[in-house]
């Protein structure tokens, strides 16, 4: 093997690699499917998907003054409806299966970057009070998108999944003349609803009853930690922002499972602790819709025991805009008593007749 030939061949390999990688990096930076570097270009079509990759980019570069955030039960909100009702310019940042900490961290980053963010609609998962404050379902996280370290952006720039699902898909959409995903469409779903659908995932005869049912000091501390270290941490840090918090109206089948497990009392006590903590914040408006019985007891609105259809998201926005279900220091005990009374005495068997 000749040294000169080898030199040319080796340099050709290195140069081709460098040029190819530079080209790929530039392509990713220009299309920027997760808005890590810039806001969307008007000449490109964007597919909004993969919440955990996209949401931080929305916070970084979109123009907005209101945000809807929460777990999957916020995915069907229409920011355009919030715009109309709250005179705002809203973005939606749902995180399917999110824990409190993940949502709080995301909000904190968004609020610290965007001083115009004055209204936040935040779904407080009712079934999350009694989890560790840092409970998280997802371990693998694209952390390189969340920090401001440009060095670890290599994972974004040289990533075949992002190149294929993000960059090439957006280019294909643009070439095909397809419009970008709207904020209303982003992460929304249209699943079947009704009793049959709910019962395909909820089997009241197979509810795990081997769970703790009491509410003692340990549970009190857990709720306090979860609310304080996540929600209050963010809410108190941004006193000029109004936080519309609400307990999502889970279906009557959720309450049925609490009854079967024997955890209804425990859950209501946790709610009381959480509510009292949240009501200490002057910039929080807390809503509870568990007295919307026509919704909660109607299986046609639900696809499982917790997830409701798009129509309920619209109703929630209207309720909040009209202060329906507003919880105050004056009414929360009465509301809790009514809630306890209704869900303790409800004839759950009638649901299955």
């Amino acid at each position: 093997m000749n040294q000169q030939t080898a030199k040319k061949w080796f340099i050709k390999c290195i140069l081709t690699l460098v040029i190819s990688l530079t080209f790929i990096a530039l392509l990713v930076i220009i299309v920027d499917p997760y808005f890590h570097y810039h806001k969307p270009f008007s000449f490109l079509s964007y597919r909004l998907y993969e919440e955990r990759y996209t949401n931080d980019g929305i916070s970084r570069h979109f123009d907005f003054d209101a945000m809807i955030t929460g777990s999957s039960i916020t995915q069907n909100f229409k920011p355009s409806e919030m715009d109309a009702l709250f005179h705002a310019n809203t973005v939606k940042e749902s995180f399917s299966g999110a824990g409190y900490q993940e949502l709080a961290d995301n909000l904190d980053r968004a609020l610290s970057r965007n001083k115009n963010l004055k209204q936040v609609l935040w779904a407080v998962d009712y079934n999350g009070f009694l989890r560790e404050y840092d409970w998280a379902r997802y371990e693998e996280y694209p952390t390189y998108l969340y920090d401001d370290n440009p060095l670890n952006d290599v994972s974004y720039l040289f990533n075949k999944s992002i190149l294929y699902h993000g960059v090439l898909t957006n280019i294909a959409m643009t070439l095909a003349g397809a419009p970008s995903t709207t904020m209303d469409e982003y992460s929304s779903w249209d699943m079947e609803t009704g009793l049959e659908v709910i019962l395909s995932t909820y089997d009241r005869n197979n509810v795990n009853t081997d769970v703790p049912t009491g509410f003692g000091e340990e549970e009190y501390d857990m709720v306090t930690q979860t609310i304080t270290l996540n929600i209050l941490r963010v809410v108190n840090k941004y006193p000029d922002t109004t936080f519309y918090l609400f307990y999502p109206p889970f279906s009557i089948f959720y309450w049925d499972s609490l009854n079967i497990k024997g955890t209804l009392d425990r859950q209501l006590k946790a709610e009381k602790v959480a509510t009292e903590l949240l009501l200490t914040c002057p910039n929080v408006k807390l809503y509870n819709f568990f007295d919307q019985y026509d919704v909660i007891c109607n299986a046609d609105f639900y696809s499982d025991d917790g997830h409701y259809c798009e129509e309920i998201n619209s109703r929630i926005l209207q309720w909040i805009a009209g202060d329906t279900g507003l919880v105050t220091k004056e009414n929360y005990l009465e509301k809790l008593a009514k809630e306890r009374d209704f869900y303790t005495n409800f004839d759950y068997d009638s649901l299955y007749e």
């Binding site: 040294q3 061949w9 390999c13 999944s161």
Partner: protein, 487 residues
């Protein structure tokens, strides 16, 4: 630091090449060695500085002992240094790797409650301990030259072979460091090196990591697997193990080439083996030769009759099992392989005139079966897997295995590129094809060392390097660890 990481490929290794050849160009030969040591320390301490401290202490003490042996003429003192070295190295390895396993077994047997240390296992400790052990023993035997601290430290810490081998002898590596002819840029070696590195990177990232996902799903759901799925999972694991470890060694081999250092071959197409003895002369060759030189031969090798030869062989394989990990699964795996090779020698079954393909298939199948023990988290898990293998019944492949493969970006691309119909009708097809093609590659293709030696710098090979490097780099996120780090 991992070879298959952005920082290694984009920063660490280019910087190493530039710095090393830069110092050598300026004829600062010692500085060049010191630079390589510095880079190796960065490489090793990148994820955990505590590992680095252990390595430095280990190198320092071993160097003092080895120097002591080369300087003194007192036989007694030499023997003292030898035993100090053996005890030190085996002691460090025992303390970090086996103490908890040992105590755990005592606790179980005696119903005692001796506390466990729960220490993190320093990366590659088994590899660099063995290299140093070989140097200590060779020094005692007078087979070790007098090396400078720089040379010795680089021999142990040389990053291409530091954390997963090959296990190199001092007299293979240090003379190459000493040879100033090796200090000049050699584009022929750079070309061969980048070619071997590209092949190794692709084996690790594109093949082994793909199988890894499938194997993990399988082993996490053993009770849901039927016979068909268990067979698929254990075959996938045999491929993962081979492509992972040999891919790593290919990368090491390639980097060695680029630095004008020739590392020994560690895998010589082991699945082409026609017998167990043949397989073990091709699989993790530098470990096998270590055990032959430092365990088998001192035990008497084959010089003390057949029975003793078989016993010595069995001992070597049990020690090899122990070396692989502090778990009964590894010990049983080693023992099983020892029994198989002993039975093979005793019955002379491998000399029967059977078609080569049958011999290869039988050897591979039995070895693959033993590997299912190697991968299991416990002997109980292995038992469960084997129960499912023999009693699970043939039927469709466990869907999550297919789904895991289907989640690959490449599969999504093929789906949209026109193969969607076939992939929907035959969901098992692509995974089966990938497995069969990988298997066929192991049985038929030349290994990386052969390919590298015969490399012609054609446009075809240029495309191979560029495409494999680009494809692998684009597949790096979601880094998985090398299997052999914990050995």
């Amino acid at each position: 630091m991992l070879f298959n990481s952005y920082i290694f490929i984009f920063l660490f290794f280019p910087l190493t090449l530039i710095g090393y050849y830069g110092f050598n160009y300026a004829k600062k030969y010692k500085a060049a060695l010191a630079f390589l040591i510095g880079m190796s320390m960065w490489f090793y301490g990148y994820n955990n500085i505590y590992y680095l401290a252990i390595l430095i202490v280990s190198i320092s003490i071993n160097y003092v002992l080895i120097s002591g042996m080369t300087k003194t003429s007192s036989r007694r003192l030499k023997r003292l240094f030898l035993w100090a070295g053996i005890l030190l190295n085996i002691g460090i390895l025992f303390y970090f790797k086996y103490y908890d396993f040992f105590i755990d077994n005592i606790n179980s047997a005696l119903k005692a409650q001796i506390p466990l240390l729960k220490l993190m296992l320093p990366l590659g400790i088994s590899f660099y301990t063995f290299q140093q052990l070989s140097c200590v023993i060779d020094s005692y035997k007078g087979e070790c030259e007098k090396y400078s601290l720089l040379e010795y430290a680089l021999y142990v810490s040389f990053f291409p072979q530091l954390i997963a081998g090959p296990i190199v002898y001092h007299n293979e590596l240090i003379p190459q460091f000493q040879n100033t002819d090796n200090r000049k840029i050699n584009f022929e070696n750079l070309s061969r090196g980048i070619y071997a590195f590209a092949l190794g990177l692709a084996k690790k990232v594109l093949i082994a990591d793909t199988f890894s996902g499938i194997v993990t799903v399988g082993y996490n759901n053993i009770t849901d697997l039927n016979t068909t799925s268990v067979i698929l999972v254990i075959v996938c694991y045999s491929l993962q193990l081979y492509f992972d470890f040999s891919g790593y060694c290919d990368m090491a081999y390639g980097m060695g080439y680029m630095l004008n250092i020739k590392l020994p071959v560690n895998f010589n197409s082991p699945y082409k083996a026609e017998s167990f003895a043949d397989l073990w002369s091709r699989w993790h060759m530098t470990l096998t030769r270590f055990f032959v030189k430092y365990v088998y031969i001192p035990l008497g090798g084959s010089r003390r009759g057949k029975a003793r030869t078989y016993l010595n062989t069995l001992i070597v394989f049990i020690v090899s099992g122990i070396w692989h990990g502090a778990n009964w699964t590894f010990i049983l795996w080693g023992t099983l392989n020892g029994i198989l090779i002993t039975v093979e020698r005793f019955t002379k079954i491998s000399s029967l005139k059977i078609p080569k393909i049958i011999k290869m298939t039988v050897t591979y199948s039995i070895f693959t079966f033993t590997c299912s023990l190697f991968r299991s988290a416990s002997v109980k898990d292995a038992g469960m897997l084997w129960t499912r293998l023999f009693r699970g019944g043939f039927g469709p492949v466990y869907q999550p295995l297919i789904d895991t493969f289907g989640d690959l970006t490449e599969m999504k691309f093929l789906y949209r590129a026109g193969l969607g119909g076939i992939m929907t009708s035959y969901p098992w097809l692509m995974l089966s094809l990938f497995t069969v093609i990988s298997l066929a590659a192991c049985f038929t293709l030349k290994n990386t060392q052969e390919k590298t030696a015969q490399l012609t710098l054609s446009n075809k090979k240029f495309l191979v390097v560029v495409i494999l490097m680009l494809w692998s780099i684009m597949s790096l996120s979601g880094i998985s660890e090398f299997l052999y780090f914990n050995f």
